[in-house]
């Protein structure tokens, strides 16, 4: 469905120095610099997959999405999306895809959203019957019936984002690229969008590739994740495997019955939190069982659990590039 091989994208940027003298200097002697946004990444995605694309800011996530949707030309490499090369922007290709961006809007600002929908119907040449069904489905799922006739500029960000989603999906794309779809939304609105994405993926067997900084998005939505950092892929696989390969520690929680000398606990593992009667320790993965038995033998332990590190902590490490 989507094939990417050795994709490279370089940007040329002019360096701007700060301060008045610096500004004048760069005006007279502009200094060009090549920024390597993507350093030869490769991956494939099959039909119907819902893949999360994660990495720190500036890692190259959005650049990849923009190349896959045909907006940017790559510097080199091979890309095929369905049977098309994206940047040729063939109308048949464009009818099959959609790019949803949390911070870009296509709705006409001064007019009600229904006008933009009508325009998209004409542009994508959606048959009347399909359009009606499609609109009805989306409007119901996202619960926006009352918002259709209100000028877009009077809507809140969350309301607008839902309507943006409809505008992007009216033509029932087979492949949807989503760039930070929940950015700036409150928790309820985020959940609405997330539920919708899962539902859309199931109903239409659509292939969805989404980037997000929101850990809940990734945990709740995707099975497979691709981690990108500094223009290269550092992990591609199951979310559970990602946890394994990045989780070097386990969390042990003990409940004690009597006061103890906490200093002795340090010998067993790193004390993360003390909240009598609960104490949280972090220990190396391999030594977890040993540490647990040590605790049971030497301390007045009432109860004990061994847990994985929370996924948020792991992904945070991934974002930081810690391995």
């Amino acid at each position: 469905m989507i094939v990417v091989e050795r994709l490279v994208k370089n940007f040329e940027v002019t360096e701007k120095k700060s301060g008045l003298v610096g500004v004048i200097h760069s005006f007279v002697f502009p200094k060009k610099k090549i920024v390597k946004a993507l350093k030869g990444i490769s991956f494939t995605i099959s039909q119907g997959e819902l893949v999360g694309f994660i990495g720190p800011n500036g890692a190259g996530k959005t650049t990849t999405l923009k190349i896959l949707s045909g907006i940017l030309f790559p510097t080199s490499g091979f890309v095929q999306v369905t049977e098309y090369t994206p940047w040729n922007r063939k109308p048949d290709f464009l009818k099959k895809i959609s790019l949803v961006m949390g911070q870009k809007n296509q709705l006409w600002w001064d007019l009600p959203a229904s006008e933009t929908f009508e325009l998209n119907r004409a542009i994508y040449e959606i048959p009347k019957k399909v359009y009606k069904e499609s609109l009805e489905e989306l409007v119901t799922l996202l619960d926006v019936r009352k918002l259709l006739t209100i000028p877009v500029r009077r809507l809140s960000l969350g309301q607008r984002m839902r309507l943006e989603l409809i505008a992007s999906l009216l033509h029932q794309p087979e492949i949807v690229f989503m760039d930070e779809p929940t950015i700036g939304l409150d928790l309820v609105a985020q959940q609405v969008i997330r539920d919708f994405v899962v539902d859309y993926n199931r109903r239409h067997k659509a292939t969805i590739l989404l980037t997000s900084h929101n850990m809940d998005d990734l945990v709740n939505l995707t099975k497979r994740v691709i981690v990108i950092n500094e223009g290269g892929i550092i992990f591609d696989g199951n979310l559970q495997e990602l946890v394994k390969s990045f989780a070097k520690e386990k969390i042990i929680r003990v409940y004690i019955s009597k006061k103890i000398d906490y200093k002795n606990l340090q010998k067993v593992g790193e004390v993360k939190e003390i909240k009598i009667p609960q104490i949280t320790l972090s220990v190396p993965r391999e030594g977890a069982a040993l540490a647990a038995s040590e605790l049971l033998q030497n301390f007045p332990v009432e109860d004990l659990t061994i847990e994985e590190e929370p996924i948020e902590t792991i992904i945070r490490k991934v974002f930081k590039g810690v391995r």
């Binding site: 907006i71 001064d110 004409a122 040449e125």
Partner: protein
């Protein structure tokens, strides 16, 4: 074709959104028409005065004609294109199976239709109130040539504006400055919007006719006024058509180069 009709409709709706703004804009136009009328009417108050081959009726037709043709040719939504390129809003269009030029040409035409409609009403008011002596062209062939030259003028201006709008692909901060120079200074100055091009020295005048600019305003109006005829009309139409072709090819090639360096910025 149907999609462009829908674009036409929604574009027209957009024009009416800001009611007060719209009314103010039309009021300004009416005032402008009256001012220009009184100015030239008093200059030519002496009967039988002829300047540069224009008598009273023709000069009034000229200055008012310039207003109408300018309203048709220069009124344009396409001025937004450079902003869309530098802000990255262009991305929205690149994602859709729609031709960006035809999209804007359609939006332009809807804007022009609106302008023309109101210009007709406003001039109607002028005629009813002032009953000016006005030169009415009745020769069918001349009128035909006039409308052809007007269509070419619209297209030429669209191309010039579009090409100028591509500058932000390479220099995002230049969006407005370049447009100002090309549109306000060059196009208005050299198209006859500010003064009669006949005033210029003959050689300069002739040379100007090899550029696309006089074909934006002055040439159609000259045809209407019957100042030029026959071969000169044909020659002018051929030159302006050639320019259309050259600018079209130029625009296409710059567009594709621009897309290669386009960064889809704005986030």
């Amino acid at each position: 074709m149907k999609r462009y009709f829908t674009i036409f409709k929604i574009s027209l709706q957009q024009e009416f959104v800001y009611r007060l703004n719209f009314i103010m804009w039309r009021v300004r136009n009416v005032i402008q028409i009256f001012l220009i009328f009184f100015l030239w009417d008093s200059i030519f108050s002496a009967p039988n005065r002829v300047l540069f081959g224009y008598d009273r009726a023709k000069i009034l037709t000229y200055v008012l004609g310039i207003l109408v043709i300018k309203a048709i040719v220069f009124s344009s939504r396409t001025v937004d294109v450079s902003g869309e390129i530098s802000s990255g809003a262009l991305t929205n269009y690149l994602l859709k199976p729609v031709n960006y030029f035809y999209y804007w040409l359609t939006r332009d035409l809807s804007s022009k239709l609106l302008n023309l409609g109101f210009a007709v009403i406003e001039f109607g008011i002028l005629f009813i109130i002032l009953k000016p002596s006005f030169f009415l062209q009745t020769d069918f062939l001349v009128l035909l040539a006039f409308f052809i030259s007007l269509a070419i003028a619209i297209f030429l201006f669209f191309l010039i504006l579009f090409i100028t709008s591509f500058i932000p692909f390479w220099a995002p901060e230049l969006a407005w400055g370049a447009q100002f120079i090309v549109i306000v200074i060059i196009s208005e100055f050299l198209s006859g919007a500010l003064f009669l091009l006949d005033i210029l020295p003959k050689a300069f005048h002739e040379a100007l006719y090899l550029t696309p600019f006089p074909y934006l305003l002055f040439f159609p109006l000259e045809i209407y006024l019957g100042k030029i005829a026959g071969l000169r009309i044909v020659r002018g139409i051929i030159i302006s058509l050639l320019w259309s072709l050259v600018l079209w090819i130029l625009m296409k090639s710059i567009w594709f180069r621009g897309l290669k360096v386009y960064r889809a910025e704005g986030r």
